[in-house]
């Protein structure tokens, strides 16, 4: 861990003005990822600005019938929020699938979006990593790539985005509200995270010095037919091998609207609107689900240890769609009912 200075900001303005891009300044909220990375000597900020006290701590209704999640609301508080549970159960479920109760109690919504990949090589400074040091090379391509990407990867980086919450947000077509010194921007969720390309060190569209203030959820929460399936090496506290968020609207047993987002397979939550569009209007049946899955995974490419993810994702998509279709009114979600609620 390097040496750094630390200050506390009390207003958004103060936080933004103290953050001088390029001088190694970072905002810190829950710190559940940043501190780990600093301990591993991966992140080496010169200056930390504590933003925990900023006025971004509430969940409120928006004018268009949606919900506005403060960037500093804890993941746990978001998942247990009454409005989120009743109107956006997909989001609640995805959050509860992530990390552990302790981590969810610390981690904030804004920070969840900005957490970095859990690629072993990114975390181990003894091995080359383009995401950590551009130009070093990617150790995962020829290494232990069990947890790595099958979609949208490049020769420079095959890391995945580790978040569960973001997979649901992608399916719900959330918007990320960010503030810069000069202006406010609203970024559609699909454009927030990026693919690695030849610049894998850049994870998102957030510009240096900008701060996430809110996440906005559109009015439609798909609360009748949804599912979040997370497949992993143990029942809790493990990142997804594959996860699927499905948001579905049915009309006479046909698919009226559908969103399918995948986690654990790419550098960002993965959507394929072509597949979704083809599914729309079709009968909500396994055969059509499988077609959609095939389209989503058409371009998928496996590496030595993760080729299984292609078939696993295919099956998970079909399962999630079927379970979303068949969903009965579920019991309220918490970390104890999570496993009961979704028996894998």
């Amino acid at each position: 861990m390097n040496r750094f200075t630390f200050t506390s900001a009390h207003t958004i303005d103060e936080a933004l003005h103290e953050n001088i891009p390029g001088n190694g300044t970072r905002f810190i909220a829950g710190g559940t990822n940043l501190i780990d990375l600093m301990r591993a000597d991966v992140e080496r900020p010169d200056h930390l600005i504590d933003i925990r006290h900023l006025d971004l701590q509430t969940i409120t209704d928006t004018e268009d019938g949606g919900l506005r999640l403060g960037a500093l609301v804890k993941n746990a508080d978001t998942a247990y929020d009454e409005k989120v549970q009743s109107r956006y159960p997909l989001l609640a479920k995805a959050i509860l699938a992530g990390a552990s109760p302790q981590l969810r109690n610390m981690a904030t919504n804004g920070g969840n979006l900005l957490q970095r990949t859990r690629c072993y090589y990114f975390y181990d400074t003894a091995t080359p990593c383009n995401k950590r040091v551009p130009g070093q090379g990617c150790s995962a391509v020829g290494g232990y790539n069990r947890m790595h990407a099958i979609l949208g990867a490049s020769d420079h980086c095959i890391a995945t985005h580790p978040s569960d919450m973001c997979v649901a947000l992608a399916a719900l077509e959330a918007r990320v509200v960010v503030m810069g010194k000069e202006s406010k921007r609203v970024i559609p969720f699909s454009e927030f995270h990026r693919l690695p390309g030849d610049q894998p060190h850049i994870d998102s569209a957030l510009l240096p010095g900008e701060l996430i203030t809110h996440i906005e959820l559109p009015a439609n929460g798909f609360s009748s037919h949804y599912q979040y399936i997370k497949l992993r090496d143990r029942r809790s506290y493990a990142f997804a091998l594959v996860s699927v968020a499905v948001a579905l609207t049915l009309e006479d047993n046909a698919v009226k609207d559908v969103r399918i987002a995948l986690g654990g397979v790419a550098h960002k939550p993965w959507r394929n609107t072509e597949a979704e569009n083809i599914l729309k209007g079709k009968a909500a049946e396994e055969l059509n689900f499988r077609n959609a899955a095939d389209i989503i995974l058409q371009e998928a490419k496996g590496y030595t240890y993760n080729t299984f993810k292609i078939e696993l994702a295919r099956r998970a998509i079909v399962r999630a769609l079927a379970e979303a279709r068949d969903l009965q009114a579920p019991e309220p979600l918490n970390c104890y009912t999570y496993n009961r609620h979704h028996q894998l």
């Binding site: 091995t127 069990r146 143990r234 809790s236 506290y237 091998l241």
Partner: protein
């Protein structure tokens, strides 16, 4: 003459007594090694090698040393005058070869090898300064793949203490050819690291007289003491090692780890107290359960009688030491079979030496043997439990002698009954619950019931309080509690009046806590020393005027309820404290005698046994496996405390599940480095993975092993568990996965 003991409330052996250190542990007053603080403490941070093999060309410490508060940086460049000879680095769990000597030369022998130590006034400073040290390496070609180097396997000439060269018998090759039915299968499991919750840490305090007081995380304070004394050429009596509480060890504390060397090195040099603690990542830098490839061939008659067993194993070891464990030996011991061929080989790789991990060898060997037995059962069309019962042996077929006791049959019967085995339908894929396939599997386990020389010292004072001590340790197993129980019952005094002390090198000799030998070895010493106190107290009691026991012999009295009473008339008694007060005896101190029981043991094979039954639920489409139920039936002699014993078996069962489904340190051959080196990516079961675990201790009286009939249960709980789970997965899915852990992808 017998006496009714129903009114005796100082009987503690066999009772589910609460942990005597439980309150201290849950309230935080039990202090672990890293929690001791002294004035002027300095902190050490270890720098680990990023390469697996090569040489250090240069170490530039200038930037780091320029940081205020950084005291000194140690490496091979400035650590001189350390002993040359291997013998100086000897420890009680020494392996054949040349032990790793920290800072000995510029040679790198394994990835994460410690190469420098930064000492500073705070942990944060030391950690920061460690990032400023610039080290240049010259990399050499290295080999870390067991698979690619399997042709370099060799048979080790000798092994570490306890290693028995596998003994073949009969003519297995021929018998296999002639067998009615044959099963042949290869099994593989990856490396595992112990990963106790508590990280390795040592604090060395340099005393004004030049002596050392050391707090160390270890399974044997005397092992650490002797290591420090030898390496640093200090008299044993000037080195005191303390380790009163250990936050798990599982074998990782059987050898002194390098942070001990480093804390002592710096404390002696700087003449200040120094604490060196490892990071979680560095917990992957030392010993591990070795990656092992095994082949099992079983030949049997149509009726399921074993005609031949051939078991070969090849494990990895380091270039500098031959780590050996008894992997294949058990296959010649568990079942009746005349023709057994066993083979055990090693491959040297550029890794650190493996290290004993819970049930070393048996956890590995029984995994393969018991999976193969299940495969045989399905080749023959016989129930897997029935197959084992048909091949049951009352005698040790390897040594051709009786077991001191063996009640594996009751493990099979009671385990099966509690599990409901008779309701199992034989065919694979025949049990289902909704979308889940259900599978039931079972396996057997065997481990040694060992006794090692150990001593105890006891002092009773005239207030009736007893203190017993021994330089043993309690790695969370319950040693404090069971020793207190044994002492209290033997002397017939209340538990609250007994204090058992351990984890201090100034106490009398005990071996490190390993091999499931502590309860039997130290327990017997405690029993023995309390009997010596009884003898002395009894002769004092006889001296008392009008003593009710005057005309009695010690066999005719009972020590119970704090009294010495006549067996034929319990109303005739003396309080133990009164005996001392009335004879003006302030205190009595005794040391246990070495036991002659070893001769009695020699004619017998001494083992613990188990039968494990597991239920799994498999979502076949998605490859998701859950273990939903386990019944573990254990035959391990006399159980001193069924509560702590149950906890120990439950922990072991969970670890067995981990071996079956979750756990592997992945060795990346690009870098020769274990790459998933933290708790997030090194998967062990979490609460949500934990099934209902029922533990049964079957009755097993064993007068041979030791007077209390204790066999030890540290290892037996894990053995066979992974095989039972794998067999259950086969029963559920019809798939045989022979590569462990069985992760979801292997079922797709």
């Amino acid at each position: 003459m017998t006496v009714s003991m129903t009114d005796t409330w100082t009987n503690y052996i066999g009772k589910p007594v609460n942990r005597v250190d439980g309150v201290a542990k849950v309230t935080g007053t039990a202090r672990y090694t890293a929690e001791y603080n002294v004035q002027g403490l300095l902190y050490g941070m270890v720098i680990s090698s990023p390469i697996a093999r090569g040489k250090i060309i240069s170490i530039d410490t200038s930037l780091a040393l320029a940081v205020q508060g950084v005291k000194k940086i140690y490496s091979h460049e400035n650590v001189k005058d350390m002993p040359w000879f291997d013998i100086s680095y000897k420890d009680m769990n020494l392996l054949p070869g040349s032990p790793y000597r920290p800072f000995y030369s510029n040679e790198i022998q394994f990835s994460q090898q410690p190469i420098a130590l930064v000492i500073a006034e705070s942990l944060e400073l030391a950690r920061y300064a460690s990032t400023l040290v610039r080290i240049q390496y010259e990399e050499d070609v290295f080999e870390t793949s067991l698979e690619k180097n399997i042709d370099k396997a060799f048979t080790p000439k000798k092994g570490k203490a306890g290693f028995q060269k596998p003994k073949s018998r009969g003519r297995a090759d021929r018998a296999l050819k002639k067998a009615d039915v044959k099963v042949e299968a290869d099994y593989y499991h990856g490396a595992e690291h112990h990963n106790p919750m508590e990280m390795f840490v040592s604090m060395a305090i340099y005393e004004p007289d030049g002596s050392l007081t050391i707090y160390d995380k270890t399974q044997g304070v005397l092992n650490s003491q002797s290591y420090v004394a030898r390496v640093f050429d200090i008299k044993h009596r000037k080195v005191r090692v303390l380790s009163p509480y250990v936050g798990g060890a599982f074998g990782s504390g059987l050898r002194p780890q390098y942070q001990l060397f480093m804390a002592v090195l710096a404390a002696l040099d700087l003449q200040q107290p120094v604490r060196v603690s490892l990071t979680r990542q560095q917990m992957f830098s030392f010993g591990h359960r070795p990656i092992t490839w095994q082949r099992l061939e079983l030949g049997a008659s149509r009726e399921g009688m074993l005609q031949a067993i051939r078991h070969s194993a090849i494990s990895e070891t380091s270039r500098f030491e031959n780590y050996t464990e008894n992997i294949v030996n058990w296959s010649g011991r568990l079942y009746m079979c005349d023709h057994v061929k066993l083979d055990y080989q090693l491959v040297q790789l550029d890794v650190n030496s493996p290290l004993d991990m819970r049930a070393p060898g048996a956890a590995t060997g029984l995994l393969a043997l018991e999976c193969a037995m299940d495969e045989l059962a399905y080749t023959l069309g016989i129930d897997p439990l029935e197959l084992r019962m048909r091949n049951y042996t009352e005698r040790d077929p390897e040594k051709d002698r009786a077991f001191s006791s063996k009640n594996l049959m009751d493990c099979y019967k009671q385990g099966a009954e509690h599990f409901g085995w008779e309701k199992r339908s034989y065919n694979a894929r025949s049990m289902r619950n909704g979308k889940h396939l259900i599978g039931w599997g079972m396996a057997s386990g065997i481990w040694d019931a060992m006794m090692m020389p150990a001593r105890a010292e006891a002092i009773i004072t005239d207030d009736g309080k007893l203190t017993v001590s021994s330089a043993t340790s309690d790695i969370g197993t319950g040693t404090y509690t069971i020793m207190t129980q044994i002492a209290a019952e033997t002397l017939g005094i209340p538990l609250e009046d007994v204090t058992f002390a351990l984890g201090d090198s100034k106490f009398v000799f005990a071996p490190y806590e390993g091999g499931s030998a502590t309860a039997a070895s130290v327990g017997t010493a405690v029993w023995n020393v309390c009997h010596k106190l009884k003898d002395e107290l009894f002769s004092l009691a006889k001296d008392i005027e009008d003593s009710p026991v005057k005309k009695y012999s010690i066999d005719d009295v009972v020590f119970a309820n704090g009294k010495i009473a006549c067996k034929d008339n319990l109303e005739q008694f003396l309080f133990i404290a009164d005996v001392m007060q009335r004879t003006h005896t302030k205190s009595i101190k005794k040391k246990s005698a070495d036991l002659a029981a070893l001769i009695k043991q020699m004619g017998y094979s001494r083992n613990t046994h188990s039968a494990v039954f597991a239920e799994v639920k498999v979502d076949e489409d998605l490859g998701m496996i859950s273990v939903t139920r386990v019944v573990s039936a254990i035959a391990a002699g006399n159980i001193i405390n069924p509560k702590t014993a149950r906890s120990q078996i439950m922990g072991a069962v969970l670890w067995g599940i981990s071996m079956a489904l979750h756990e592997e340190s992945f060795l990346d051959h690009q870098f020769g480095r274990f790459i998933n080196h933290d708790y997030a990516e090194y998967h062990i079961p979490v609460h949500a993975d934990t099934p209902e675990i029922e533990v049964i201790f079957v009755k097993e009286d064993d007068p041979v092993v030791n007077p209390l009939g204790i066999k030890g249960i540290g290892e037996i709980g894990i053995i066979g568990v992974a095989a039972a789970v794998a067999n259950a997965i086969h029963h559920a899915t019809g798939k045989r996965v022979r590569e462990f852990p069985i992760t979801p992808d292997k079922l797709l």
